[in-house]
Symmetry: C2
Subunit: 225 residues, 2 copies
C-alpha cells in the first residue's frame, strides 16, 4: 500500500502567534519617524512580505526615494518598535496543541517566516514546543521572501518532503500566493485579520479561523487522529 | 423642479481618522489586564459597536462573568490605553478635503460615533475643520449604539434631513448593518482594515478605499462638483 507522506509548513506571525497588529503599528511608528504618512490598513495589507520588499513597495507607493540607507533605517526602527510591543504578544489559540498533535502523530512540520531570526525568535519561544528539532526557515536563510516561494521550498527540502505533498498554513494573501507558486496547497487562517474572501481569492484550498479550528478539522487535511 | 437634499453621516474611527488599530490594541491591553486572552483579530471584528455592547459580547464569547463592575473597568482601561496611543493617530487621507468640499457645496453632514466624547474629541480636532457648526452624535447621546440605528437616526434628525436621503459612511460591518436598519444607504471605506467583501455582504451600496477615493467619486453619490 502506498501512503503519501504529507507535511505542514507554517507561517509564524498571524498564523501561530498573535503578532500581526503589533507588527503593523511598529511599521507605522517606524514610517512616522521617517516622516512617511501611510494609512495603517495599507500597512496591514502588505505585512507578511519580506521586510525589504515591503519597505521598497511602501516607498514606491508613497512616491518617496528608495535609498538603501532609508530602507535599512526603516527595518531597524520597525524591529525596535516591535520589540517594545512584544510583551503583549501571545501564541494563537490552538497553536501549541496543533504543533504537539503533529509531533505526536509523526507528521513532519516546519516554520517558514518572512521575519528575521532576531524578531521571530522570542515570539516562537512562547509556543511552548521544542523547536530544536524543527526546521525554521527565516528571511535570513533565503534570497527572496514571500510572495516568492523560496521560504516554503527551503522548508520542504529541510523536511525531505516533496513540496507538492505539503500544506502551507498562513494568514496572509502573500502566503497563499507563495503556496501556489511553490505548488503546495494553501490553508488560510483568519487570525491575521484578513477577510475570508481575500484568502480564498488568493487561492486558499481551505480557510479556518485559527490554529484551534484547524486542529479540529485536521482529518480533512489528511492527518488521522 | 424638485431636488432631493441628500446628506452624509460619517462614522469617525477608521472612516475619518486612522485610529482602528490603536483602538484594537488598546482593547487587547485592557483585556489582558483583566486576564482575558482574546485573539486580536476577534477584537478587530467587533470594533465599531458600542463599547458596552462590545465588552458584553467579549465576556459572553469568552465565557467570563458579565459583572457591571468588570465592564466599567474594561471601558476605563481601554480609554486609558487608547489615550496613551493617540500621539500616532492621524486623519485619514482625504478626510479634511472631503469635509471641506461638502461644507463648501452646502451639503449637510454630521458625525455619528460609537465612541464617547472624551476619546472621540481629541481625534476629531486633528481633522482641521470647524466642528462647532456640525452635529456630532456620540455614544453618550443615544440609548443604543451600532449596530442599532439610533446614532445615525439622531444625526439625520439634527440635520433635519430624512434618513432615507442620507448616505452613511463607515468602515465596519456594524456601520453598514446600522445603515440598513435606519433605511439609509451604506457607503463602506476599507480604511478600517476590513475586507471589501465583508462590507459588501453587510449591505454596502458602494465601497471606496478611503475618504480620498470617496471624494474623487463624490459625483456618484449625488453631489455635484
Amino acid at each position: 500500500m502506498h501512503v503519501l507522506q504529507s507535511a505542514f509548513l507554517f507561517d509564524l506571525d498571524g498564523t501561530l502567534i498573535d503578532s500581526v497588529y503589533e507588527h503593523v503599528l511598529a511599521w507605522h511608528e517606524a514610517l512616522l519617524e521617517e516622516r512617511i504618512e501611510l494609512s495603517v490598513w495599507r500597512i496591514h495589507r502588505k505585512i507578511g512580505m519580506s521586510g525589504g520588499l515591503f519597505a521598497n513597495m511602501l516607498l514606491r507607493e508613497t512616491g518617496m526615494n528608495i535609498e538603501p540607507d532609508r530602507i535599512e533605517r526603516l527595518q531597524r526602527r520597525h524591529a525596535e518598535a516591535y520589540k517594545a510591543r512584544i510583551g503583549q504578544v501571545r501564541p494563537l489559540p490552538g497553536a501549541h496543541d496543533l504543533l504537539m498533535f503533529l509531533t505526536d502523530a509523526r507528521i513532519p512540520w516546519a516554520i517558514a517566516t518572512s521575519g528575521r531570526i532576531e524578531t521571530a525568535g522570542p515570539a516562537m519561544e512562547t509556543l511552548g514546543v521544542d523547536l530544536s528539532r524543527v526546521p525554521i526557515i527565516t528571511r535570513d536563510k533565503v534570497k527572496h521572501a514571500k510572495p516568492d516561494p523560496d521560504l516554503f521550498l527551503a522548508a520542504a527540502e529541510s523536511l525531505k518532503i516533496d513540496i507538492s505533498h505539503c500544506f502551507v498554513v498562513g494568514d496572509s494573501v502573500w502566503d497563499m500566493l507563495a503556496a501556489q507558486r511553490a505548488r503546495a496547497l494553501g490553508v488560510g487562517v483568519l487570525s491575521g485579520g484578513y477577510g475570508l474572501e481575500e484568502l480564498e481569492r488568493a487561492g486558499a484550498y481551505r480557510v479556518f479561523e485559527d490554529p484551534a479550528q484547524l486542529l479540529k478539522h485536521i482529518d480533512e487535511l489528511g492527518a488521522r487522529r
